[in-house]
């Protein structure tokens, strides 16, 4: 029973009353959050606020102790595993850039394409023109056309971040969960990344976790601040950054 | 290396590549992996096939030294047929397929005249096809389960009727044992020996309830439960004894547990077929006083031949504490038989030696003269020894004469009609009922 009888919500992602604890530590505590279709949302919050754990829950890596997690208003994500959730169209970029280091940039994108992912399909796979065109397009978007035959492991940190975003694009999901995309990037790169995300947001729903407030400001989207596993404040960047509690626990005086 | 070569090959022209590959392949394969055998016609090569590493090294290394010692002694006497004997030592590393490989190497490459080797049954089984195929001689020095008589193998260890049955007879007569624990390691020798003993005991009127059979894995080290079970089995009001076919390694913890749980030989004696001087060297034997072992040789037997052997052996190994044991004596007998047979036919040709060996007599170390029988087993005396506090045995009983080794047990259904006779019938499994060679021959 993955699909509910009626659409419970119009939201793309809907979290309600989610709890998770690890050995008595409450990582997520009555977390409720909704993400509308086509929206881009920035998530901020101090270390240990539960940002990554929240992503783990949405992508099926961690099962919540209680609470509702719905995708597209109909699909109960808590019952599905990572593979199934990815197939539904939720893509994820990790906090630490995770690409297939011993394979070329091009192969990384090839692996990400949302084509037949079965054992048989991959064994008898032969490239098609459409596929290579898509890869070319993504390579262009993430500015790695020249590096297409290099091993991903030899890329710079920023390039790896982009490659991972590129892999998300190739995967073409409905929702992108992006965890700290600009960590370790130069100012120029940060700026370019913000532009890139805004571009992607035209056709995709995005949730971005980031500490870099300049970057968050540049995105210019609704911000949610998490603290101790639940929502502390929500609103525009100016509203949130002027919130007393947010300043106290996160931004600092 | 290989890739480099293949890269090279790939860039060559096809014809040259083919030629080069052919040369390379043959060169690689034909250049034997061993140091080139010297063409020495002035020596006779003797192969030694005992594990020097791995789990069996514990038992077999001594036998390698024994043959080296015997060869050394023989060479001091001028060798055989005027030629010196040259030992060829290989290490089959307690690995059964490696035994076969090494046997093949000894015979084909080193061209040995005879091989002394193997300890476990499986190693013998593994090399058997090789000796048959390449027609060479193996002297096998360890007590074993019998049920075999091969043209190329000479069995100088005890067959079950030369060890197990006399021991049980002794316990029945001397100790009035009525209840029996047959404890063994789960492999072929204990299984077969226990089958034979079970049949034998039943033929002597022992009830099924009075026989307990227990098998443990190799290297079993936690004997608490089994020793307690033995104790329990022994408390049924009848005199109880344990017949142990427990394999070498597991014996030390077994005896330690027996000693600690206070099972004394006067309560429940244990008679073992695989525990000799070498195994006792690893145990404090004081708590084991009076437990028994059945062998065809004990170091403590006082004969001039034995005393001389021990003295020379200890001098050879430069270790005044080095013990001797039954399989060593088996090699001693086997080696001397082979020397006599070679001198009789004035040749080391395996066919001639194999035909000459039955009937050859050689003195053993316990004062008798053992004889090679047509079934390729030998005659041996059987001794029952009690463990003494100093790690030696005290002989408490012996057979009046020498016992002829049976290749096929009379107690087992499948083999009671079989005999091995390589002199008259030229057959290892001759069925005396059907008068045909080849088992039941039905």
């Amino acid at each position: 029973m993955n699909v509910m009888d009626t659409r419970a919500t119009s939201a793309m992602l809907y979290l309600d009353g989610v709890h998770v604890s690890f050995d008595g530590f409450h990582a997520i505590n009555n977390l409720s959050l909704t993400l509308a279709p086509g929206e881009m949302r920035a998530i901020i919050g101090p270390n240990g606020a539960g940002k990554t754990t929240m992503m783990d829950i949405i992508t099926g890596k961690t099962k919540p102790d209680e609470g509702t997690v719905l995708f597209d208003g109909t699909v109960d994500l808590t019952r599905l595993d990572e593979t199934r959730i990815a197939e539904l169209g939720i893509g994820r970029k990790f906090q630490k850039p995770t690409v297939f280091e011993s394979q070329t940039v091009q192969d990384n994108l090839l692996l990400a394409l949302n084509v037949d992912h079965s054992v048989r399909g991959t064994l008898f796979w032969r490239g098609s023109k459409a596929e290579s065109e898509r890869i070319d397009k993504v390579l262009e978007t993430i500015r790695l056309t020249d590096a297409r035959n290099r091993l991903a492991g030899s890329l710079s940190h920023g390039q790896k971040q982009w490659l991972e975003i590129g892999m998300l694009l190739a995967q073409d999901p409905k929702v992108l969960l992006v965890d700290e995309p600009v960590a370790g990037m130069t100012d120029v790169e940060t700026h370019l990344t913000a532009e890139l995300l805004k571009e992607i947001n035209k056709n995709h729903t995005i949730m971005v976790v980031e500490h870099d407030m300049t970057f968050v400001r540049e995105l210019g989207v609704k911000v949610t601040c998490l603290h101790e596993g639940s929502v502390l404040a929500e609103g525009s960047i100016d509203q949130v950054s002027s919130n007393e509690r947010v300043v106290e626990v996160y931004l600092g005086r | 290396m290989l890739t480099q070569l293949t890269h090279g090959i790939a860039t060559m022209t096809r014809r040259r590549a083919l030629a080069a590959t052919a040369g390379l392949v043959l060169g690689l394969a034909a250049s034997s992996p061993f140091a080139p055998a010297q063409a020495a016609d002035d020596t006779i090569k003797v192969g030694i096939l005992h594990s020097l590493s791995g789990t069996m090294a514990i038992s077999e290394t001594t036998l390698k030294d024994t043959i080296l010692f015997l060869i050394d002694e023989q060479n001091k006497k001028g060798g055989v047929l005027g030629k010196k004997l040259e030992p060829v030592v290989v290490d089959p590393a307690s690995n059964w397929p490696l035994f076969a490989e090494k046997a093949r190497e000894l015979i084909t490459k080193d061209k040995v005249a005879v091989v002394f080797g193997c300890w476990t049954s499986v190693s013998r089984k593994s090399v058997l096809p090789v000796f048959k195929e390449l027609n060479n001689i193996l002297f096998y020095p360890v007590q074993y389960e019998g049920e075999e008589s091969e043209r190329n193998v000479f069995y100088t260890g005890a067959a079950p009727n030369q060890q197990a049955i006399p021991a049980v007879d002794y316990l029945m007569k001397e100790e009035k044992v009525k209840r029996w624990v047959l404890a063994g390691t789960d492999y072929v020798y204990p299984r077969t020996t226990n089958k034979i003993l079970e049949a034998y005991l039943k033929s002597k009127g022992v009830a099924q309830d009075d026989i307990m059979i227990n098998y443990t894995p190799f290297g079993h080290s936690d004997w608490q439960t089994i020793v307690a079970d033995i104790k329990k089995f022994g408390s049924a009001g009848k005199k109880t004894a344990v017949v142990s076919t427990i394999n070498g390694d597991a014996n030390v913890p077994f005896y330690k547990e027996l000693g600690n749980q206070g099972i004394k030989a006067t309560d429940i004696p244990v008679v073992a077929f695989s525990v000799g001087e070498e195994e006792l060297a690893g145990i404090d034997t004081k708590p084991l006083l009076g437990h028994l072992a059945a062998w065809n040789y004990f170091e403590s037997i006082k004969t001039p031949a034995n005393e001389k052997f021990i003295k020379e052996w200890q001098a050879y190994t430069k270790n005044p504490k080095r013990v001797t044991n039954d399989p060593m004596e088996a090699h001693y007998i086997g080696f001397n038989m082979w020397v006599k047979a070679v001198e009789k036919v004035k040749s080391t040709d395996p066919d001639k030696v194999i035909d000459a060996l039955p009937g050859i007599e050689a003195p053993n170390l316990t004062g008798g003269v053992s004889k090679m029988l047509p079934n390729h087993h030998i005659t041996k005396p059987v001794f029952i020894g009690e463990i003494k506090g100093n790690g030696q045995f005290d002989v408490v009983w012996k057979t009046p004469g020498l016992v002829a080794g049976d290749a096929w047990s009379k107690e087992l259904e499948g083999s009671k009609d079989l005999i091995g006779d390589w002199v008259g019938k030229k057959c290892g499994n001759y069925n005396t009922k059907t008068n045909k060679c080849g088992g039941q021959g039905s």
């Binding site: - | 439960t225 009001g237 390694d249 749980q261």
Partner: protein
């Protein structure tokens, strides 16, 4: 043949014939002679101190103080004749000796001898000893010995054909109260009895049997604890090198072996130089084994392991190679055969607890294991080194930046794990072979324990070891040793499916990073 003076001398001279039947006759005659020397002769015979000269037919006693006396006269003799040899015994004769000695020492002034005598009479139940037993019983004041005499008397009465039914019924009750396996053996071996007695005996047998069956559960539990302690001891060093450091050390078993060989060397030195210290040999061996194995561990860490951090599967290969080298090195240095490591007196023997036998060596090993565990736990928790170890293993970079010399800590941690394996070797030398193969037989079990318990958790290792030990010992009587072990392995495989990180797995985000 020299002329012999009288029947006692005739009897004693039979010892010199070196025939078991003559020796047996001699024992009976000497014991029955009433001669004052009889207990000394038979006591000497039991201990192998009775020698005889086959030519002169003279028999001598070597006293415990080394002096030699003529067995017939008690007169001191300078030295044994050259061809005198100890009078030989076999098991049947040993039993005869025990029975004879039992009769002779029932009235001994030494309480221990009286107790032993009573117990041997219980087993031999010789009818002609009844009057002696009864008079001893009447005189006895020490309670447990009095009890033993009563049981010995009951045993004799049960086998006495002319005893009255009521006496026999009382005797059955006494033996039933004893309730152990020997009582069971006595009652089941009774033979023909009057119907009333037979019935009482049968009910006593079944009552003892059901009592013993209950005790056998306790016994299994004890055996399980004991096996668990051995597993724990073998695995605990691995829990450090593998569990805490993540190094798959296939040479762990060889560290155990080195510990055992250290014990052997210590005992050799003690045997040849300071025999009086033998009972302390293990106490001396423990720190030495820790140092030797620990030092070798540090050397291994410095020369091999440290180049392989973060690649545990490669350390597996390298340490496997190392284990081959170490095994063969020991084989070359000490020879391939087993080496004798003795049990000190306090590790030998057993005592009865209810109806189960607890051997001292197993008990000490259990205590020792728990002590090692406690010390290790305390060390990790309360010492600076322990703190540093935990810091380094949890976050190497952070620890390094806080000024901890990580490479030193690595070496010490590995040394500690190896040293503990060495200590395990000391204990295992008491129950197992000391041979180059010693380590191999424990390595797989050790890995199973650590993985089952949960890597990186010492408590998990403790619980894992005892769980596996007890499960094994409860399965063994049902399934046999081999099938029991197979069942345990299959259970571990299935268990890991259920809990892929062992019994006490760490949860949360950190472990998956």
């Amino acid at each position: 043949m020299p002329a012999l003076a009288g029947p006692f001398e005739d009897s004693v001279a039979k010892f010199a014939n070196d025939e078991f039947s003559d020796t047996e006759a001699a024992i009976g005659e000497v014991a029955a002679s009433g001669n004052a020397l009889a207990p000394r002769i038979i006591g000497a015979l039991q201990d192998g101190r009775l020698s005889a000269d086959p030519d002169s037919k003279k028999v001598f006693i070597t006293q415990t103080d080394g002096k030699i006396v003529d067995a017939t006269t008690g007169a001191a003799v300078d030295k044994l004749p050259d061809n005198a040899a100890a009078v030989r015994l076999n098991n049947r004769l040993r039993r005869t000796v025990e029975a004879a000695l039992g009769g002779l020492t029932l009235l001994s002034s030494d309480p221990a001898k009286r107790l032993a005598a009573a117990q041997s009479v219980f087993k031999s139940h010789e009818e002609n000893l009844l009057p002696t037993v009864e008079s001893a019983l009447a005189k006895e004041s020490v309670k447990p010995i009095k009890q033993a005499f009563a049981e010995a008397r009951a045993a004799i009465i049960l086998f006495k054909s002319d005893a009255s039914d009521s006496d026999k019924l009382d005797a059955v009750a006494v033996v039933k109260a004893r309730g152990d396996q020997e009582a069971l053996a006595l009652l089941t071996g009774l033979g023909d009895q009057p119907p009333l007695v037979a019935k009482a005996a049968a009910s006593a047998v079944s009552s003892i049997q059901s009592n013993l069956a209950m005790w056998s559960m306790v016994q299994n539990a004890w055996y399980g604890l004991s096996l668990g302690s051995v597993l724990l001891l073998a695995a605990i060093g691995l829990a450090i090198t593998f569990g805490v450091m993540g190094v798959i050390n296939m040479a762990h078993g060889e560290m155990v072996m080195i510990g055992a060989y250290t014990t052997f060397v210590v005992q050799e030195v003690i045997r040849t130089r300071y025999p009086a210290l033998f009972d302390y040999s293990l106490l001396i061996a423990v720190p030495l084994a820790f140092l030797v194995a620990g030092l070798i561990g540090v050397v291994i860490e410095r020369t091999i392991i440290r180049f392989l951090y973060g690649r545990p599967l490669e350390t597996l290969l390298a340490t496997w190679g190392l284990s081959l080298v170490l095994q063969q090195a020991v084989r070359t240095a000490f020879g391939p055969t087993n080496r004798e490591v003795g049990n000190p007196s306090w590790m030998s023997g057993a005592f009865e607890l209810g109806q189960i036998t607890i051997t001292y060596n197993r008990l000490w090993i259990l205590c020792f294991t728990l002590a090692v565990f406690a010390i290790l736990l305390a060390m990790l928790r309360y010492t600076a080194l322990g703190l540093e170890m935990r810091a380094v293993t949890q976050n190497r970079r952070m620890a390094a930046s806080m000024g901890i010399a990580t490479s030193r800590v690595d070496a010490l941690t590995f040394g500690l794990g190896s040293g503990i394996a060495g200590i395990a070797g000391v204990a295992l030398s008491q129950i197992d072979n000391v041979s180059p193969n010693l380590g191999q037989s424990y390595i797989i079990d050790s890995f199973m324990v650590v993985v089952f318990g949960g890597v990186g958790n010492l408590w998990g290792t403790l619980v894992g070891a005892f769980t596996l030990g007890i499960a094994n010992k409860f399965l063994e009587p049902v399934a046999g040793a081999v099938l029991g072990k197979i069942a345990i392995l299959v259970l571990i495989i299935l268990f890991i499916q259920k809990r892929p990180r062992g019994l006490f797995a760490l949860k949360g985000r950190a472990v998956e990073a």
